[in-house]
Assembly symmetry: C2
């Protein structure tokens, strides 16, 4: 008998090994240190292991922790201030972010609540794309979450006042500072916390960086042997900038710079054509699909179906709170399935099992962590969640003739059914209580910071009385 | 000073009065017996009322309880057994329902869990469309929920074995029995429980009832002065039956029978054209939109936008658990907004405030209860919910310059943020504990009943090895 730290028994186990969901009916998972020591049937593992703690998971699902492959936790403080309008960035986001971005404390407070929100909904890994990341990463270190992070690098001026349709002016000095922060981040935190924190390069978009900057980032990604996490064809706004500035669309431009390859994690592809998307996929790049966010902001279902024709490296992301407005991977899974069924007018596409893979094993591969997470498999990092199938929204469990567990997880779970989260072998949430951070305090501090930011944004909105959100306020629609 | 039963103070109040959301910042609601005695500011109401119980709703939203305008609670026991396939009814539902419908105890156990699920997600009124409703209505009586119910009437044979594409055979004897049950239901329960239970006529669909039956139902609706709750153009299956049997599509057929009027609550309209939908709306009928269910089952976004061009009597419904798979009106609101934004390719349509109205005041008008529920207004029934805005998914609350409460309720809430539900003046849920029913027992009993049903369905599936769900089981996708 081998002695280990944690042994889960009697679970409905979804290992996500193989091509499907890797179901084991009376399943068990053994955890030693920060790694999965074994998976199998309860009977087999009880014969091989004794453990410091044995957790009876009867009536519960155990599966890999969910991976949010694209999130801006630093924007969460302004959750819900910009949706249901055209040009949401100029007419809603920017007046708030111009204030928020000068107040790192407020950014941090919002980020922490966002992390707690997602964690309580089963997310264990965060691809956090934000600024200043050397600060925000401290939240992940504190919360105990797995994070793959990038500093958001652009050459936009400090106060963004571009009007709709105008070509952005670049500020190379700002760009230089931001790139330096990304480099510092990688040097300091890549592999930190026993490997729980890893770092990427993070150009915000081809429209917001000069060509020189993108080429430097490309070289740095090779030097540091890491990924480039980047918004690609993220809106008509971006495409317009690209065509005005370079006379070509984003994907052709990136191809000419030699940036379409395995290192690229292309986020959104909102405005990419099917042909562009297939081409990008065929060159080896990964894609992150943010169904909720792009649905709200643009009314668009991105061309992930075209991507899937050439590659399986498709991941899901929750994007950001001012325009999604939640960071909940169960929400993303259900939206991804239904929006794509409706786009294809075909209920057989994006079946539950496939979408569950996009939030676990395929996501891990997309963000470059396929060797470490995404499935429950001997030798991988011990990131797992336990889900209460006795919740009225998930009950009853039927095993034969048709097993209903995976469809109900994807189409009915809301996140609050997740009872326990283990990250890197450590129990981070138990009985829905986050053990690493004081939730009540975090919420209270975020509220205070939000009131400070809102008061300053109110001054800016004084000059924006004719914008759609102000009209909605006037009409009593908010 | 007037003495009342319940006084809520210091709430973010959404009365849903007027044309918008009727927001009052430091709002209060006074409840006397089963009615709303008053709404206003906390200051005003504290000057006028003393109460048996004063509830401090600081940091919480109080709003009308949500209305699920179309739900089959009796199907909930087979949650999640049929999705991601074509012909979900023939290849997934019917083998289960043929067994389930012979076991009223199992139907009841599933229904109760479904009611608890929805109640815990803020639903206070259920348009329950099922059979045997004289039984199922007992669950609503026990749970304390408001229910507007109809017996599902059709002339289908007891064992439904129709193959895809075949014209159904009718069994008038079965039809007669079912109609009689609907009449008995109305006679016995319309207005029961101090008016909390009301009854409608419930023909299952124009394809499943003879013309004679529909004309009798039309006459009965006039006799009892109530609504007709009916699936209309609910799938290509229905339209095919109608064209084969009568040489015309459903809406033209119903028009010729004189059934397109204010009494009709037309559910789904999945396969209705924009022109048919506008015509139906212009004749005064209401529409129920089931975004989640129809998205999963058919990959279709029904033509509610066309409906709204002629009428505002549009309500939302969760439909049924084997193919939605949840009964959660927050889920329906978010789906309705995003699916329609994506259908229109326009992020400004179906804004949060409008969708919130579709789940409250417009829903009430659609189902014929606009005079009683749907808004918090003096003299209406006291059906309200209290929502915790300190939940990490709803935090922070911003009041100026852009109020974020309504967008976050529609786009970020998942249902578990609802802390308290009051129905007909009675607290039915408090601190997320349902006070009228033992949740744990209900879940346990539903699980037992499901295992019984599944074992019998397994025998039927023995002859269905080639159907898509069986293939998915084989491939380890479930």
């Amino acid at each position: 008998m081998e002695h280990i730290d944690l042994l889960f028994i009697h679970a409905y186990l979804l290992t996500m090994q193989g091509e499907g969901v890797g179901f084991i009916e009376d399943g068990a998972v053994a955890v030693r240190g920060n790694l999965i020591a074994d998976t199998g049937t309860t009977k087999d593992l009880l014969e091989q292991y004794t453990a410091d703690r044995v957790i009876d998971a009867s009536g519960k699902v155990i599966m890999p922790g969910l991976i949010d492959a694209h999130i801006h936790t630093g924007d969460a403080l302004i959750r819900g201030v910009s949706q249901d309008i055209m040009n949401w960035m100029q007419h809603g986001m920017w007046p708030f972010t111009n204030v928020l971005r000068k107040d790192t404390d407020a950014v941090m407070k919002g980020s922490m609540v966002n992390i707690i929100e997602a964690l309580k909904a089963g997310t264990t890994t965060f691809c956090d794309f934000d600024s200043p990341m050397t600060e925000i990463v401290q939240n992940h270190i504190k919360a105990g979450t797995r994070a793959r992070v990038a500093e958001m690098v652009n050459e936009m001026p400090k106060e963004n006042k571009s009007k709709v349709g105008e070509l952005y002016t670049f500020d190379p000095e700002q760009g230089e500072k931001k790139l330096q922060r990304n480099i510092d981040l990688i040097r300091k935190y890549n592999g930190a916390e026993n490997g729980r924190i890893t770092c990427m390069l993070g150009p915000q978009g081809a429209d917001m960086c000069s060509q020189e900057m993108l080429l430097r980032i490309k070289a740095l990604a090779e030097e540091f042997d890491t990924s480039i996490h980047m918004h690609v064809a993220q809106g008509d706004r971006e495409i317009n900038q690209m065509v005005k500035r370079y006379g070509k669309r984003t994907i052709q431009y990136l191809d000419e710079l030699g940036m379409l390859n395995e290192r690229l994690i292309a986020v959104h592809l909102t405005e990419a054509t099917d042909e562009e998307t297939e081409y990008l996929a065929s060159k080896g790049a990964g894609m992150v699909l943010c169904s909720g966010s792009i649905g709200i902001i643009d009314g668009i279902v991105p061309p992930s179906a075209a991507f899937l024709r050439k590659s399986s490296r498709l991941a899901l992301g929750s994007d950001q709170a001012p325009g999604n407005n939640c960071s909940n991977m169960f929400n993303e899974m259900k939206f991804t399935a239904i929006l794509n069924k409706c786009k294809a007018k075909d209920p057989t596409v994006y079946p539950a099992w496939k979408v569950l893979r996009m939030a676990t094993i395929e996501s891990a591969k997309t963000i470059g962590l396929g060797h470490e997470i995404g499935s429950l498999e001997k030798g991988k990092k011990a990131d797992l969640i336990m889900i209460n199938m006795s919740d009225p929204a998930l009950c009853p469990v039927i095993l034969v003739p048709v097993r209903n567990i995976v469809p109900n997880l994807v189409y009915s779970a809301h996140g609050n059914e997740v009872e326990m989260s283990v990250i890197d072998g450590r129990i981070i949430m138990e009985d829905r209580k986050v053990l690493t951070v004081n939730e009540e305090e975090a919420v209270c501090e975020a509220q205070k910071a939000a009131e400070r930011i809102a008061a300053q944004a109110a001054v800016i909105f004084e000059d924006m009385k004719d914008t759609p959100l102000m009209k909605m306020m006037e009409r009593g629609e908010l």
